[in-house]
Symmetry: C2
DNA sequence: TACGGCTGCGTATATCGTAAGCAGTAGCGC
DNA sequence: GCGCTACTGCTTACGATATACGCAGCCGTA
C-alpha cells in the first residue's frame, strides 16, 4: 500500500477517494467524512441544481458549518469533482457480451442514464482529463469492450471521447427541455413558434422548411435521438474496424 | 418591418440583435451601444477567461459603470448569450462545393476554429436551443449543405447536433491542454504519469496497456483528433445516406 | 506529561450580480 | 413653447458567495 507521501500531485481529497490517504494519526475524532460531504453535495445538486449549490447549503444539509468542509476539500471545485465521480459509480458495470458494439452501447446508455438522473453534472466545468476512480472505471470498461478490435490504443481513446461527446450533448439538450418538470411542457413548440417570428425566407429557407416539417412541434425526451446519433457514430467506427480487417 | 411589439417572448437585447428593436424615441443620446458592450465582453473573456468576466470588468473596459450595462442587457446571462453569438459570426460562411460532406466539414472546422480562438465559449452555460442570428446562420448553412441528401428534416438537425457535439468536446479538451499557454507544456505527460501512480493492474489492465502504448506521452493540440472523430461520425452519416438511396 | 497535529467553526473580507433611486437629457403631445 | 415622461448614466446599497485567518478544544505520539 502506498505511504502517505504518494507524490501524485493530486489534491488530498482525490487521493482520499483512491484510498491513498489514511485516517490522521492525531487529533479529535472526525464528526464528518468526505463521503458524507460528497453525498450531501449530490443530494443538494439533485434537488436544487448546480446554481443553488453552495458550500453553505451542503454544510447545512449535514448540520455543520461551511468552513468545516474545507478540512476535507480544499475548494468547492474539488467537491464538484468528487460529486461527479460519485454518480459515475453506476456507469461502468455491464453484462458484457464480448461484442464491442453491444458493450459500448450499454456503457453509453449507462452514462446517459446517470446524466439524465443528475442533470447538474454537465454543468460542472471540466477542468482536466478524468482522474477519479469511477470515471476511469468507465473508461476501463470501454477499453475492455474494444479489446478484440484492431484499433490502436489512441483510436480506442478517441472512440470513447466520441461516445462521451454524444452523451454529454444529449444531457445538455435535456436540460434545455427540463426533463421531469411538468411546467416545462411545450418548450420545443414554443421554440418553433419563436423561430417562425424571427426567420425570414431570404436568409433562412432551409430552417423554415425544417420547421414546416414539424420537427419542433413536440418535445421529444425519449432516448431515440441519442440512440440515432450513437448508431451513426458507431457505424463510422464499425467502418474503420472493418477497413482494418 | 416588425413593430416594436414583436411578441417573440425573447429578451429585448436578443430582439435588438435581430434588428427588431429601433432606437428609443425620447431621452438623452446613448453614449453606449449593445455592440460595444458585447465586443468589450468578448475582449475581456478572450484576455482573462470567463471566470474573470464580471459586469464591472466589462464596464471598465469601455469606461462606464457596471449598472449602465443593465440598460442594454437585463442580466449577465444575456450578455453571455450575445457574446457567443458575436463570435459565431465567422462560422457560417463557406466556399460551398455542393458536396454535403465537404461542406459540413468546412462548417465543422469553422466552428472549431472559433471555439479554439475563444475557448471561453464552451464555458458559457447552454440555456436553451439556439435563438441568436449567427448561431442560426450556422445551422442554416449546415442544413443547406445537406439539402441534396435523402435525410429528413429531423435527421438533418440530428446530424448537426452530432457535429456540434464533436466540436464542443474538442474545444473542451483543448481547454484542458491550455492551448497557447507555453507554461502548460507537458500537461498530458503529467497526466500519464499520475495515472501510472494510481492504476493497479487488477482493476485497470486495459488503461495500463494504453498508457504503455505511449498515448499520453505528448500533448497533441493539432486538429487530427478532431478530424478523426468527425470522419467517423460522417462515415456513419454517409452509411445512412447510402442506405436511403 | 508536554507538544503539536487535527477538528469544527466564528469572524472577516473581497467580490459579485443586481435592486432602487437620483439627476439630467430630450422628444412627444397639447 | 411648455409640461410630462421615457430614457440615460451612475451612485448607493444589499444579499450571497467562496474562502482566509485564527481560536479553543481534542487526542495521539514521543
Amino acid at each position: 500500500m502506498p505511504s502517505e507521501e504518494t507524490d501524485t500531485s493530486l489534491p488530498a481529497s482525490v487521493e482520499a477517494v483512491w484510498g491513498l490517504r489514511g485516517r490522521p494519526a492525531r487529533g479529535p475524532k472526525r464528526a464528518l467524512s468526505l463521503e458524507r460531504i460528497v453525498a450531501a453535495g449530490v443530494a443538494v445538486a439533485d434537488r436544487e441544481g448546480l446554481d443553488a449549490l453552495s458550500m453553505s447549503r451542503v454544510a447545512n444539509a449535514i448540520g455543520t458549518s461551511a468552513m468545516s468542509l474545507y478540512r476535507y476539500v480544499s475548494a468547492k471545485d474539488e467537491l464538484l469533482t468528487l460529486m461527479v465521480d460519485a454518480v459515475y459509480a453506476d456507469t461502468w458495470t455491464i453484462a458484457a457480451t464480448g461484442r464491442w458494439r453491444a458493450d459500448l452501447t450499454q456503457l453509453a446508455f449507462n452514462n446517459l442514464h446517470t446524466l439524465r438522473r443528475h442533470p447538474w453534472v454537465v454543468r460542472v466545468p471540466v477542468t482536466g482529463p478524468p482522474i477519479t476512480p469511477h470515471q476511469l472505471r468507465w473508461l476501463e470498461a470501454s477499453l475492455a469492450a474494444l479489446r478484440g478490435t484492431p484499433l490502436s490504443g489512441k483510436e480506442k481513446i478517441a472512440v470513447m471521447l466520441l461516445v462521451n461527446s454524444l452523451v454529454r450533448n444529449d444531457a445538455t439538450l435535456m436540460i434545455d427541455l427540463r426533463v421531469g418538470e411538468p411546467e416545462s411542457e411545450g418548450k420545443l413548440p414554443d421554440y418553433g413558434k419563436t423561430l417562425r417570428l424571427l426567420l425570414d425566407p431570404k436568409h433562412f429557407p432551409e430552417l423554415i422548411d425544417v420547421l414546416d416539417e414539424g420537427v419542433f412541434d413536440y418535445d421529444d425526451t425519449s432516448e431515440q435521438d441519442f440512440s440515432w446519433s450513437l448508431e451513426r457514430a458507431l457505424d463510422g467506427v464499425a467502418a474503420l474496424i472493418e477497413s482494418k480487417r
